[in-house]
Symmetry: C2
Subunit: 187 residues, 2 copies
DNA sequence: CATCGTATAGAACGATCGTTCTCGGTGCAA
DNA sequence: TTGCACCGAGAACGATCGTTCTATACGATG
């Protein structure tokens, strides 16, 4: 087993467990067992639980960004690229492991007591907003459209998570269509 | 001191502390000290921390519902009543104690390990959606408008919380205006 | 084979959690 | 004054947390 192989497995396992049960509900021993590494190796790879949490957030950010971009890139027109954001959300919501946005959740759980976590969540959302803004700019939309679509996407995530149904994705997508067309026509 | 007076102070203090630091980060001893009651009285009023959490959620639900309705009722027309939702959010976001929706936060923190909390958060969001639906119906809007506005409201809450700015309220309000007018015109 | 460095499983540690118990004081009734 | 029922402060308890330490097994090297 490679050394970074163990590292990856630890982070991947932590990601799953933290998502399924919440960060604070998963102890190091449970993570150790699930990842199949010794406690010593765990602390050899990471100095503390907090650093594992940050590594999980980085992993989530990368996974989310790549997955979103892959879906968006399949859309033929700038307008459909903006709508593809909500298709990506729809796929995500349908996964059985979906339990809400990991950044919203970690912010809610640890944001008040961990400046690192709060800051990383802020950065992640900021990067999403910039991504939406770049797509909106590509569609020739006015600047106010992107924040509106980002808010729709955020709302769809929490609504889907708490309601337990993926309906919010299509509802948000239809709303996005109205907002996009209105923004493009009044331009 | 009345017996229910102590109860109210416990719940009010727990509400503040849980909101400020997160539920799991506030121990019974800290709550006891802040509320100024003995540990014995605390457990005399509530059988467990979980029951305090549920009492806090009930308090939040009542406070939110009443505050929202008071703002909405001041609006003269059905259309402006729908928009008043976002004015209410704007006021809320500007409070220094604002740290996101307490139900989203409690769901993120405890939803996976406490069916009670998850269920109550679901019920709260459901009641909000029904409230929006009743306002939308009063404005003569088609049925699909209310979920769209509710998603906007949810998104504004998480965006404002994580970004740390109240901007999302006005952005969501402007988006709501577009959606409302589009829905009313195509009817 | 003997030896040594390393990795492992799991015990142990201090801290903190939610919860309960004990002790000492206080007000009231007789 | 004496007895008694309550009350608050905080010690105590068992569990669990994150983290570290120890004892044991193993594998490579001479």
């Amino acid at each position: 087993m490679d050394i970074s192989d163990a590292r990856n497995r630890i982070v991947a396992t932590a990601d799953e467990l933290y998502n399924a049960k919440g960060i604070q509900a998963v102890g190091m021993d449970e993570l150790r067992t699930a990842a199949g590494v010794s406690l010593k190796k765990l602390y050899q790879e990471f100095p503390s639980k907090g650093s594992i949490v940050m590594a999980v957030l980085e992993r989530r950010h990368q996974s989310w960004t790549e997955g979103l971009d892959a879906t968006v890139r399949r859309a033929p027109t700038p307008r459909e690229q903006l709508l593809a954001i909500f298709d990506y959300l729809g796929q995500w919501f349908c996964q059985s492991t979906f339990r809400g946005c990991g950044f919203i959740n970690s912010f809610a759980e640890l944001g008040a007591i961990s400046p690192e976590v709060a800051e990383y969540a802020r950065k992640h959302k900021e990067s999403f907003q910039e991504y939406v803004a770049s797509l909106a700019a590509g569609a020739g939309a006015p600047g106010y459209l992107a924040p509106q679509l980002a808010i729709l996407a955020e709302g769809a995530q929490t609504t889907a998570a708490i309601a337990g149904t993926p309906n919010a994705a299509t509802q948000a997508r239809q709303a996005a269509e109205v907002l996009i067309d209105a923004a493009l026509n009044t331009k």
